[in-house]
């Protein structure tokens, strides 16, 4: 099946049509029916737990990458993967259990907050619906492979992470950034909140900010030292007490922290407050 309209655009069209007090005749009812039909057609291949992110472009925060980058449409999980879901995964895949995992793929902290291989620990009931953390990049990929998904790329993740509850791009709004920094500065609770508790952004995606940080597929794309092209000064700005000077928008210090954090990671690290969610590319049907 070929996709004709992004679903979110259709939904926005509906809400505009229904919000409008005038011009509500037969025509607009027909329009809504047609729109609903289209939604049903597109919904068919978007799993319930995912949303379709329409294609677009965004400008990453670094000067070097300051040109707008296109992002193709893709599917993204509404919520991060939970402890409960990950438990099912390790139950079915013994080599990913805490006591069996190869050190190449996960360090000693892997699932350290659980009680055992197949035991979420004394708070099991309370954390089953919380985002899983203490998972390595390799483990996240292995999990997602079993459900036919992949990690989102950094571009994809950051593209969606600019959204707040009402706008696809809230990143220029100092209040939005302030909210993120407020979270970054707050102690995290011993029991992470359930993934169901977070308000969805305009795409219907929740928990990108405010609960855990998340792995991206290409977390290793920023040079720390010894870059081959010898132009690492741009990235030096990120590390050498340069603060956010090298960024396209110094106000976006929150994004700066995410990039800095990612570049400090290695694929086997399993750390508190770092989880993940799945993404899927949209397979284009044959052009009729």
């Amino acid at each position: 099946m070929t996709r004709t309209y992004p679903r979110t655009a259709l939904l926005q069209a509906i809400s505009r049509a229904t919000a409008s007090k005038k011009g509500f005749g037969i025509g607009s009812k027909v329009c809504v029916v047609v729109v609903n039909l289209c939604i049903q057609l597109t919904v068919a291949d978007v799993p319930e737990e995912m949303v379709e992110i329409p294609a677009g472009a965004y400008t990453p925060m670094y000067i070097e990458r300051a040109e707008e980058r296109p992002v193709s449409g893709f599917l993204l999980d509404r919520r991060p993967v939970t402890n409960g879901q990950f438990l099912e995964f390790v139950r079915a895949n013994p080599k990913w259990r805490r006591s069996a995992v190869k050190r190449l793929f996960a360090d000693e902290a892997y699932l350290a907050h659980w009680g055992g291989d197949l035991d979420l620990g004394p708070n099991g009931d309370r954390i089953a619906d919380s985002p899983v953390t203490h998972v390595s990049w390799f483990a996240a990929r292995a999990y997602l492979k079993t459900v036919g998904k992949r990690l989102p790329s950094e571009d994809e993740w950051e593209y969606v992470a600019r959204a707040d509850e009402t706008r696809a791009d809230a990143s220029k709004d100092p209040r939005f950034t302030a909210r993120l920094l407020d979270w970054y500065g707050r102690p995290s609770p011993a029991i992470l909140p359930s993934v169901a508790d977070e308000a969805p952004n305009v795409y219907g995606v929740s928990g990108l900010h405010g609960v855990v940080w998340e792995w991206v597929r290409d977390f290793n794309n920023a040079m720390v030292t010894g870059e081959s092209r010898g132009d690492s000064s741009l990235e030096r700005g990120l590390y050498c007490a340069g603060g956010a000077l090298g960024t396209t928008d110094p106000r976006n210090y929150a994004a700066f922290m995410r990039y800095a954090f990612r570049s400090s990671l290695q694929g086997a690290y399993a750390v508190p407050n770092l989880g993940f969610r799945g993404a899927r590319s949209i397979e284009r049907g044959p052009v009729p």
């Binding site: 102690p187 609770p189 870059e227 590390y239 400090s264 290695q266 770092l274």
Partner: protein, 199 residues
């Protein structure tokens, strides 16, 4: 600091992330560098050699191996990485350590451009001894996995070019990372020591 974060960066990040992630719950410090405990040969990716043969990464055990990643159309650092690998080779030759004990691999991060034919041309251009040199090209996912396992950073910067860290890795016959140097033109004696310590 080799392939590690600078102390300043490290403490900054520990500080940042410490505040961000762990206040009030538990504290931790990020380890540095890729895992040295795991075997790289746990990776199941399949590659192609300069002769077009399929090569499974998990079948490369049994010899000490020297790995570096780059791409053949690289004008900047890669020729220098290869020169460093050749310096290592020369030292091994002089010490009588043959290809039966140590092999050298240049592994492409550019699956689109670097066909086995391109690798073969590289072998010819640099006069690499085919018994000693195993040049590999793979697919995007295999490259990403291996690069992550080696603690290597890279990204595509233009249609033709990549920015990437310059790491030479010494792998023990069981696939453990025993030594890494990210510095181009650095003193390679430590790498050689790591290689020889295996015998």
């Amino acid at each position: 600091m080799k392939n590690r974060m600078s102390p300043t960066l490290f403490s900054t990040l520990v500080c940042l992330f410490g505040i961000v992630a762990v206040c009030g719950t538990e504290s931790f410090t990020l380890p540095s560098g890729p895992s040295s405990e795991g075997s790289l040969y746990e990776l199941e990716s399949v590659w192609k050699s300069q002769d077009g043969n399929a090569v499974r990464l998990d079948a490369l055990g049994g010899k000490t191996r020297v790995f570096a990643m780059g791409y053949t159309s690289c004008q900047y650092a890669c020729p220098r990485i290869i020169a460093d690998l050749q310096r290592i080779e020369k030292a091994l030759d002089e010490k009588g350590i043959g290809a039966d004990k140590v092999e050298i691999s240049f592994i492409s991060i550019d699956p689109v451009v670097d066909t086995p034919e391109r690798l073969k041309a590289l072998e010819t251009e640099y006069g690499m001894d085919a018994r000693r040199w195993l040049l590999l090209t793979g697919d995007e996912d295999g490259v990403l996995e291996l690069a992550v396992a080696l603690g290597m950073k890279y990204r595509k910067t233009t249609a033709m070019d990549f920015a990437h860290s310059n790491i030479i890795t010494v792998l023990a016959p069981d696939g453990r990372i025993v030594y890494q140097t990210p510095e181009i033109g650095s003193d390679l004696s430590e790498a050689l020591q790591a290689i020889e310590s295996g015998f």
